[in-house]
């Protein structure tokens, strides 16, 4: 224990403490604007649908999986090497785990679904940890952000420069009630002319505050992505059940009279139906809640202490990102497995 505070350890310790002190005193990182809906990138749209920054990240995650898959199978060898080796090892490990849960045949059948969800969500969550995410983007006047967010964003920061590039500095600016009122008036006036609102007309009226509109933002912090995946997962459970058990699958929800119906069966069927709906809610909000909370955590930590301390939380988010991807995929697999349990055996008891 005494050796901990000697030689190089002592130098490292003092260095870390000095860096912490310097970051607390010198480096001032503004707290990014935390906004629930994804920000629309102005001027970008496909067929009238606005492009949000989370959509860009979703496409990046898709591309990452595609490129990784392409690179892994480009030169297939009998004895795998490099990337092919890694991918084979990961796939074999997960395939073994699924075989333990559901048996060889089912594991083989549903492995692609499991692995697609896992890999896509893994990269979608991990892209968030790359520097530049949530910190590179357009600088908008505070008034525009106030209007776009429907009144949620009312504080911004002053504009400065960092290495010759425009940036925000840690000097908060809040809109006064008067300025808020003026924004609403000007928005109405602009709409009457059929124009979009581009900030205050008069320079003297401007609050001087600015808000960053990031180009990239973790894909799962937009509820649309988890919700879409959850619906896919639950609908697939019904399809898989139908394919494996045929019409018998629906006896999960409704027991036909011929089989000797009991009142409890009706109740169980209703419960099963409700739990199917609840699955969508818990699937989507689990992923969304975890990733959104992680994003806020990564915003707040550099704001409090800019150096060293955030590294630990990046490590935590690395783990959480994998865990949520894994949980989503394994739950989908287990619901598939539960949905295809034949109830035929029950009648013998």
């Amino acid at each position: 224990m005494r050796k901990l505070f000697q030689g190089t350890n002592l130098i490292i310790l003092i260095g870390v403490l000095a860096a912490l002190l310097a970051s607390a005193l010198l480096i001032k990182v503004p707290l990014p604007t935390i906004l629930l809906p994804a920000e629309k990138i102005p001027g970008l749209s496909i067929a009238g649908f606005p492009i949000t920054n989370t959509l860009i990240t979703t496409l990046m995650a898709d591309l990452t999986v595609l490129i990784l898959g392409f690179l892994a199978v480009r030169k297939i060898k009998e004895v795998p090497q490099g990337l092919q080796n890694l991918v084979e090892w990961v796939f074999e490990a997960f395939n073994g785990m699924l075989t333990d849960i559901a048996g060889k045949q089912k594991a083989r059948q549903w492995f692609p679904m499991f692995m697609t969800i896992l890999l896509f969500l893994l990269f979608a969550n991990w892209w968030e940890l790359v520097p530049g995410f949530d910190s590179i983007g357009l600088i908008e006047p505070l008034e525009v952000a106030y209007h776009e967010s429907g009144g949620t964003v009312a504080t911004g920061y002053e504009k400065g420069t960092f290495l010759g590039l425009p940036s925000l500095v840690k000097k908060p600016v809040a809109l006064t009630a008067e300025q808020k009122h003026k924004v609403e008036e000007e928005v109405l006036a602009a709409e009457a002319h059929g124009e979009a609102y581009h900030g205050p007309h008069d320079e003297h009226d401007a609050s001087g505050g600015y808000v960053l509109l990031p180009f990239f933002r973790a894909a799962a912090t937009d509820l649309n992505l988890p919700l879409a995946l959850a619906i896919i997962s639950v609908v697939m459970t019904q399809i898989v059940g139908m394919r494996m058990l045929g019409l018998k699958y629906w006896r999960r929800f409704i027991n036909p009279v011929i089989t000797g119906i009991k009142p409890i069966d009706i109740f169980v069927g209703v419960l099963e139906f409700v739990s199917e709906i609840a699955k969508i809610v818990s699937f989507s909000f689990r992923l969304f809640g975890n990733i959104f909370a992680g994003q806020v955590l990564l915003f707040v930590m550099p704001f409090l202490v800019a150096l060293i301390v955030p590294v630990a939380f990046f490590g935590l988010e690395l783990f959480v990102g994998f865990m949520q991807a894994f949980v989503f995929a394994i739950l989908t697999f287990i619901f598939f497995e539960q949905g295809t349990h034949s109830h035929a055996g029950d009648e013998h008891h």
Binding site: L36, F285, R286, N290, I334
Partner: protein, 77 residues
């Protein structure tokens, strides 16, 4: 004042139950692994599933807290 207090209470109180639940779950799973290390893989998978369901309750509280922060409670002002 209520706008600041409400989301804090929502997530704070809502996290107590799942916190205890996750603790109990991991305790049970670790004891089981300690007694029967061969079954570690299966126990771990089931433990993660249990944690996920316990955690879902905390997520509901988080959603309520997020709604209170970003959408506000109509009627509270």
């Amino acid at each position: 004042m209520t706008e600041i207090l409400a989301p804090g209470l929502a997530i704070g109180l809502g996290a107590i139950g799942p916190g205890i639940g996750v603790g109990l779950l991991v305790m049970g799973a670790l004891q089981a692994i300690g007694r029967n290390p061969e079954a570690a893989g299966e126990i771990r998978t089931n433990m993660i599933l249990g944690i996920v369901f316990a955690e879902a309750i905390a997520i509901y509280a988080l959603v309520v807290a997020l709604l209170l922060v970003f959408v506000g409670a109509p009627g509270l002002g």
